[in-house]
Structure formats: C-alpha cells, structure tokens
C-alpha cells in the first residue's frame, strides 16, 4: 500500500520536516491553509519572500521553499520595507505571532500600515507569548492567568484588527484556525490585495494559553473555547458594545484601494 502524501508537500523544505509545533497548535493549520491558498491562486512560491521574526509563528516560513528572513523579534516589517522598496515586484508575506507584531513590533506594524506597504501580514494570535513559555501578551484577554500574570492580567488587550484599521491598513480580516474554508479564502484575498493586508487568525495554544488561562491542555477544548467566543461580523452588528466584549469578531473589516508606499521618489510627480 502506497503512502498518501499531502500534495502541498511539494512547497515545503522536506528535509526540515517534521515541524517543531506542539501537537494541537494552530500554526500547522495556518501553514497548511497558506500553501493551499498559494496553490489555488497558482502563485510561484519559490519567487516569494517570506519573513518570520521570533516566536512559534515565525518558524512557519522556515519550512517553505521561499527566500526567508528569520530570527529577529518584531522587525519583520522593517526588513520588508527595505526589500519592497528595492525590489517592488517581489511578493512578501510575513508570518507573525501576536507578540512579534503587536508587542515588540508594534511601532513598525502601525507605520507600515499607515504607509500602505504592499505586503501581506498573517498574524497567528494565540493570545500569549508561547515560545518563551506562556507569558502575558498585549492580546491576552483581561484578567487571564499566564506565567507572568499569576493573579490575572491587569491590562486590557489590543484588538489587532482595529489597530490595523486605525493605522491605515487597506485589507483587514479575522478568522480562526478552526475555520479552514474561511481562513484559506481570507489568505487568498490578502495575497491578492494590492497594499497592506492583514489577516488575523485566532489560533489555539493548548500548551501554554490553554493550560494556564483556560486550565486545559486539550487542543479540542481550547478550540471549543475560541469557537464559543467567536461571532461573525453580521451577527456582531446587532450586538451592543457590552455584548461584544471579549468576543472574537470574524469577517472582513476593510478592503479598499489606496496608493502603495514606494519610498521617496523624485520623478513620479507631475
């Protein structure tokens, strides 16, 4: 009997598999959805640049046949700015965790969005700093227990999509790792968008967020918790602000065209 091989495996650096994600982590799903989106769009993955900073999500690009930058926390969009200005035709996709993008890289994030840098950002929001052992992140829900908030987090959390929208991103959407169809479609939309596109995928981290904040290391239970707290955008529109508190609102928030950033140019002005 011959072994069934995932047809998307041709896009991976096979010698680097198996990947290092924990059992039940959403990063493997996001990796899968991304390759599916690339395959369905017929993009040439080998001509792409993918960037990961530091963290679990940042490892996703290391497993793909792309030019890859990796290993500095939070500076993904700064790297991308230099590459994009010098080689505007090169497609760039950034894989960032919530800590990488919204904490240490927060300044680069809002400014790249403001400029409308023509890149795609896929942020896996697992609601904590996972690779370092489960510390509080700017996205951790208020009053959650983490390794650095043993009495509960005393900070309100960031809404990454609202932040992106306010900063000027021209494509913004949010889905969850347990919704393959919608997440894959959103990745395709983000990849096809000209300008700064941001897709947040709320992703389960059973190993840390699950164990400390939800008191379960069972991936299914963590996914169920995310699902229970998720509502689609049309449903959310009928709810009060109080009712929406603590919910993951899923859908497309922004999709518009604006001139993309190309650095200072001397001769394009008439």
């Amino acid at each position: 009997m011959s072994q069934v091989i995932n047809p998307l495996r041709k896009y991976t650096r096979e010698d680097k598999l198996p990947h290092f994600f924990c059992a039940g982590c959403g990063c493997g799903q996001i990796f899968n959805y991304f390759l599916r989106a690339v395959d369905e769009l017929g993009l040439d993955l080998e001509k792409m640049v993918t960037i990961g900073g530091v963290g679990c999500t940042a490892r996703i690009p290391v497993y793909m046949k792309t030019d890859t930058l990796h290993g500095i926390h939070g500076r993904t969009l700064a790297w991308a700015s230099g590459i994009k200005l010098h080689k505007p035709e090169t497609p760039i996709v950034i894989f960032a965790g919530d800590g990488d993008l919204a904490s240490i890289g927060g300044n680069h994030f809002i400014h790249a969005a403001r400029r409308n840098l023509d890149v795609t950002v896929i942020v896996a929001n697992n609601l904590n700093f996972a690779m370092t052992g489960g510390q509080v992140a700017p996205t951790t829900p208020y009053d959650s227990i983490t390794m650095t908030t043993p009495y509960g987090s005393s900070e309100p959390d960031f809404d990454i999509c609202k932040l992106a929208e306010a900063a000027g991103a021209t494509y913004v959407s949010r889905w969850t790792a347990n919704k393959p169809i919608q997440a894959t479609k959103a990745i395709k939309d983000a990849l096809s968008h000209k300008g700064f596109s941001l897709l947040e995928i709320v992703s389960q981290c059973p190993t840390h967020f699950g164990r400390y904040a939800l008191k379960t290391g069972n991936p299914t239970k963590v996914v169920e918790w995310i699902e229970e707290n998720s509502i689609t955008l049309p449903k959310a529109e009928n709810l009060t602000e109080e009712e929406k508190e603590g919910k993951f609102i899923l859908g497309e928030f922004v999709n518009k065209e604006k001139p993309v950033y190309g650095g200072t140019t001397a001769y394009e002005k008439e």
Partner: protein, 383 residues
Amino acid sequence: MDTKKKEERVLTGVHFMPGNYANVEGALSAGCDFFAGYPITPANEISERMAKRLPAVGGKFMQGEDELCSIFAVAGASLAGAKAMTATASAGYNYLQEGLEYAYAVEAPCVITDVQRCRGENYASQADVMQMRWGAAGDYEAICLAPSSVQELYDYTIKAFNLAEEFRNPVVIMSETTIALMRERLEIPAEDKLNIINRKYTNLSPKEYKPYAAGEFGVPDFAPMGEGFNTIRSINPHDEIGNIDWDPEVFDKLCKRLTGKISENKDRICETESFYMDDAEVALIAYGSEVRPALDAVEMARNSGMKVGLLKLVTVWPVPEKQIDEIAKQVRAVISVEMNIGKYAAEIERVCAGRCNTHRITKNRGLIHSPEEIFNGIKEVWA
C-alpha cells in the same frame, strides 16, 4: 523646479561642503542605492541630502519610524541586492546594535555612519569607539574607518562600501561632530577614476548553490533574492545550506568563518598613514579628527628639536596590529591621543606591551584637543 532633470551620481569637481554632505556624496559615488534614516542631530544633513539626491539618481530613500526600522530596512534592502546605508548619531547608534547583530550573522553588506556626539548635545567626542567594535551581541568582527576631514569622509565612505561588499560585513564610518558639521574643500574625482567593488554573485544554479559556503577570503557568494534560490537568512546558527542547526560543530564552523573572513584578512583591510615617523623616537597614535591637532603638535615638537612622529589610523577596527607593532619596536614611547576617557588606548597598549613605554593624552569635555595641549603632553613624555 524641473523634477524631470536627471542628476549626476558622481559630482566630479571641486566643492566646498560640510562633512555630512561629503559622506552622502561618497556613498553615491560608491553606488549606494538605498538609504533609511531617522532624524537625529548632528546627522540630519546626511538624511536630508540623501532624501534629495538619492531618488534623483534612481535610488530609494526612506525615513524610518525609528532607528530599528532604518537598520532592518537597510539589512532587507541589502539582502535584496541594494548597496544600503544608514546614518545616525551616538544615541541613535545604540538602537542599531540589534540590526547590526543580524547583518553580521547573515553577512548583509551595509554601511553605517555614526556621527559621534556628547550625550544629548552636539559637542565633540570619540566615546563610541568601543561600541563600534563590541556594540552588538554575539561574536563577530567589526570593520570601522575613522575619517579626519571632509575629503576623507568622502574617500572613506567609498572605501567602506567596498569593504562591505567584498567581505559581506557591515562597515561603520566613525564620523564626529567636528568633521561632520565643518565645511572644507572636497575634490570628487572623475567617475572612471573611482575604484568601486561590488559583491560577488554566484554562478551556480539554485540546486548547487550553498548560501553560507566559504568563497574567496571565506566570504560566501551572494544569490539574488526572489529568484528561486530559496535561501534562509536566519540569525540562528546555520550550516552551509542555511539550515538552522544548533550542533556545536556547525556553530563552531560558522563562527570561525564569520570572524575569520575579517581577522585573517587584516592585511587587506587595515590601513594607516605615517607622518614624520622615519627617525621618530616618540610616536603619537591618533584617529579621526584628533589626527588634526596631533599632527600640528608633532610639527611643534619637530620645530623644538624633538623627534616625534604620528601614526594615523585609517582603520580603527580591526586594530592595525602589524603597523602599531612596527612602531612599538622603533620608538621608546607611544602616546595614544583620543577624545574620550581612554578607550582605544588600551588596544594600543596591548599591542605595544613590553616593547616601549605607553602614555595617554585623553579628554572628554566636549572639545577636541588643542595642538598646545598635545604638545604639552609630548614634552612631558620627551623629558
């Protein structure tokens, strides 16, 4: 303003301009086509002139949201094939260390100007000389050039780009408030008289190419980005293929090649200039703008019958040990001159150890040494 007018990249001719502008012209002559910087005094004239000149010759300028953005944009552009540069001043140089660590690790050629200043103010200083060597985390070898005039800010910037490209290493131009804001004569040669070195690209196919295999001088050949070479540029320890690998043997091999490409090629990198050294019995060693009063002081000493010479360090890092060693064997005393609490002096004393006496003329009070101050120091040593 006629924005369609194409500007010249190399402004051949004689000019009278501030050092910061000469720094920019040197970069443009060297082929710089990407610049990112964040406002900071006294380096602003570099960004401002770049913003105007660079796009006009086909390059890209970006004002980052901070120095971190600047240095990582520079690293990104460099890996995408650009000759990239950033400029800052002492406080801003702190922020660059993170990006420098990355550029050293993935061998991204780039040029960084640090216009040294005193804390928060634009007074003269050479206090960052050790940060230029040791500022970033991890093991690496730094290359740092110290111009002493507006002309040298131009000349050494070209040298810096050449060294960056040849060795795939960041190169720091150690500028100072003194020369950066001073106007002087600058002569820019004809374009065909310039010696410009560009990085070596691989001739191999993506299948055969190994992004971290030692080429000439231990430097790996470069591959273009986005063209199927699928290189991982990670700060993590990596093997010749680019696989992240924590095996101690892999780590050791990478570290030895990264540092060896500089430390084993010092003869190609290190440059000094000698003044009145032939019969000198006492030698001053100085770098950067301190070379100017040091040379005046040597001439004052000569006029008073003292056989004193000067070794000027063009390259501050790596330490020109061979040249300093030769002087240590010749003279009875070496005097280190610098504008800080005495930092590089320890390097000079290390090389001279046991062969001649060593002395220091140092100060950090926001002012360059006067020739008289140095002359008085010479007299004490001579006596």
